[in-house]
Amino acid sequence: MKKQQTSQSKETGFKIPPGYFEEFDARLSEKLQNKHLPERKLQSGFEVPKNYFNDFRVEIPAKKEGKVISLFSKRNLKYAMAIAAIFVLMFSILPDDAQQENDFSTIEQASLGTYLENNIAEFPLLENILMENNQLNEPEFKNLDKELLFNYLTEHSTEISLANY
């Protein structure tokens, strides 16, 4: 090898740096490493803080408290308003003489609404109709037969004796 090198150098006049061929393999290997995915797997290079895995703890957030539903929620207010609406409806379809007899016209509607809101528990029948298992939903309510409703309320007028108040 050395002989060939010397001979070649003499022929062309070209010279090579000392130790060129001895270091060639190492430099080629380095070069290949830069150009190809190395045979030997590379590490990702990612590091973690010291003792990260030893100190790692999972903090499970506390479960959220159950939703507190106020007795005086919008939902209950809706029911109260529905009851009030029934009475308003009733007043509108009652004959004038009946109105005069019961003197309902003297009751202010605002007072009636407030009264119903505050005393809803005192009307168990209507309260049950409206509250129990949500039996009466809005579409059904809209479809109530006015005449049937009037008859019902007339029959049960002793239980709901507003005139006394």
């Binding site: 830069n34 995915l37 290079g45 703890r57 999972v58």
Partner: protein
């Protein structure tokens, strides 16, 4: 410990806290590296790992045992990491590709990245891959996961995975040659 027994303990509610701690100890490193290879940054990986275990804790009762616990956990970790990146790209109003470029740029000043020049080049090459190939490459090349396991985690066929990995390797090599 037997995986089924651990799952039973987690789902029974009796000593489930102790069982969960065992689960965390058993899988925290593997899931961390799965996440870290996706999100690149340690702090982000830590956040995603926390969220992953919280999700596991809250959903362990839904684990039916139809797949291995290992692959179920990896799937959650992978989804969490991808969701994190998608959310990050939306917040930054950049595309996923642009986000990948930013993540790699940040590596150069990351105190928890001590990669050599070739390792940085490799990360740059990986960032150019389509998402699926990137996932497969990371799982196969860095984590030495079997094709069968990767297929179960990503819910794809093994042949599709092999093809993905093959293409990924070719692209990475081409990137390294051209760079």
């Amino acid at each position: 410990m037997d995986e089924k027994e651990l799952v039973q303990r987690l789902q029974s509610g009796k000593n489930s806290d102790a069982a969960f701690k065992e689960l965390v100890d058993l899988y925290k490193e593997r899931l961390y590296w799965q996440i870290r290879n996706i999100v690149k940054n340690h702090d982000d990986a830590d956040d995603v790992l926390q969220n992953t275990f919280i999700k596991i804790f809250r959903n362990i009762s839904n684990f039916k045992g139809e797949s291995k616990l290992f692959s179920w956990l990896y799937r959650i970790a992978t989804n969490e990491a991808i969701t994190f990146l998608n959310s990050r790209s939306q917040k930054m109003q950049v595309s996923n590709e642009e986000l990948q470029d930013k993540l790699i740029d940040n590596l150069q000043s990351d105190i928890f990245f001590e990669g050599s020049e070739i390792q940085l080049k490799l990360q740059k090459a990986i960032a150019t891959l389509p998402e699926k190939q990137r996932l497969v490459f990371n799982m196969r090349y860095f984590q030495d996961l079997k094709y069968q396991d990767i297929a179960e985690i990503l819910q794809v066929t093994e042949s599709s995975l092999k093809s993905n990995y093959h293409h990924a390797v070719k692209k990475v090599e081409a990137f390294l040659k051209d760079d």
